[in-house]
Subunit: 227 residues, 2 copies
């Protein structure tokens, strides 16, 4: 693959920095690469933050991870990429991916919480200009949503390829934050009559809805089996 | 309720501004208040964006809507609120709530998409200092996750009340963006043998897991019935 080399650190964890050490609940933070990768890989959209005219902007955006690199989808007309301007001028971004796993209902209002996993990536994003890297990134974006799907679709033609823009963000200044488990009520509240526990949220695919114009004989692929 | 009065506009739509008119797919934008409210009310976390030392920060955060006002949960030690400093100094924020409803699998890689609904709120957030408004906001935060829950839990005591901070953001500069429906393939691709269609994502509560120390006789409340 052309373009800048992948970060080559063999460390199993990201190095904490001032802005990746949380001021609240630091025991929920993780810098483990496997933990971060799993959170990133499970999401469908990230929330891409950037600064425009001095004010924050947060937009939901498609993305994919390849090794220690995040690719974020755009079009050549979209705001963050127009802000970037020339390919070598970077854009300061914060990319956050969050999964809400369950609602934690405590006997006390104060101890209500959610079980969640989030990953926050800080850095400077650059537009991908190398055609080979861009092709791999576009495949990764399709495969991120449905693994294996890029091989089962028509690849982008020249016009479509030119109409799509991708920005790259190296995974360097990264942290995860995770809450799992049950209710943390105060001991004096345990006898209260309120129901307490965790309400998990449902995940995964529901029944696929085929396009009405499918070519005759087109079967539902195995990779879409309802999980 | 004390504190600043609610915005009183009786308009049914927010007024578009330069930063709430999308540069891509403007036909997917909506400024209808009912549409925006429904998106905001269905989420569990928002993504709160602010600027720190010139760089964007995006953090997942609990929130609730009350009329034309958004309340975002924090603690007095958390970063955005420390940045705010004094209660009357506002913090420029962007609050985004996104629902991913389905994966749109086209015959062509280029036309892969997702069905989603997002709401983006720009504005200046202020810390809530009025005790009565804060009490209502804390109830709303609990009821946002599980409607009716605040009446079925022990209210915050003085210490808990002081340890929680809430910031308020008026719904004024707001837009929604929505993609629904099926696949938009090119006519010349329709005969390709690739499966195409929409894969909806599962939603709602899974089976609640009770705390092992529930008081004897505590039944699962009706508001937690699996939907």
């Amino acid at each position: 693959m052309q373009g800048p080399p992948q970060p080559t650190s063999s460390a199993t964890a990201y190095t904490p920095t001032d802005r990746t050490v949380p001021t609240r609940a630091p025991q929920r933070a993780s810098y483990d690469k496997d933990v971060v990768h799993a959170i990133l890989d499970e999401g469908y959209v990230c929330h891409l933050g950037f600064v425009r005219d001095g004010a924050p902007v947060v937009l939901p955006t498609l993305y994919a991870r390849v090794g220690e690199r995040l690719y974020v989808h755009g079009s050549t007309g979209s705001r963050p990429l127009r802000t970037t301007g020339r390919a070598d001028a970077g854009l300061a971004v914060c990319v956050t991916v969050t999964h809400v796993d369950g609602l934690v209902l405590a006997r006390s209002a104060f101890h209500h919480s959610i079980n969640y996993r989030s990953a926050v990536v800080h850095g400077i994003a650059h537009q991908v200009t190398d055609p080979e890297e861009k092709r791999l990134a576009l495949d990764a974006l399709v495969d991120h949503a449905v693994p294996g799907r890029s091989r089962d679709s028509r690849p982008a033609n020249t016009k479509e390829f030119a109409a799509t823009a991708v920005i790259r963000l190296d995974l360097d200044e990264v942290s995860a934050k995770i809450r799992t488990g049950g209710v943390n009520d105060e001991p004096e509240d345990l006898a209260l009559p309120h129901w307490a526990g965790v309400v998990p949220l449902r995940k995964g695919y529901a029944t696929p809805v085929p396009d009405p114009g499918l070519a005759p004989g087109t079967e539902l692929p195995d990779y879409l089996a309802v999980r």
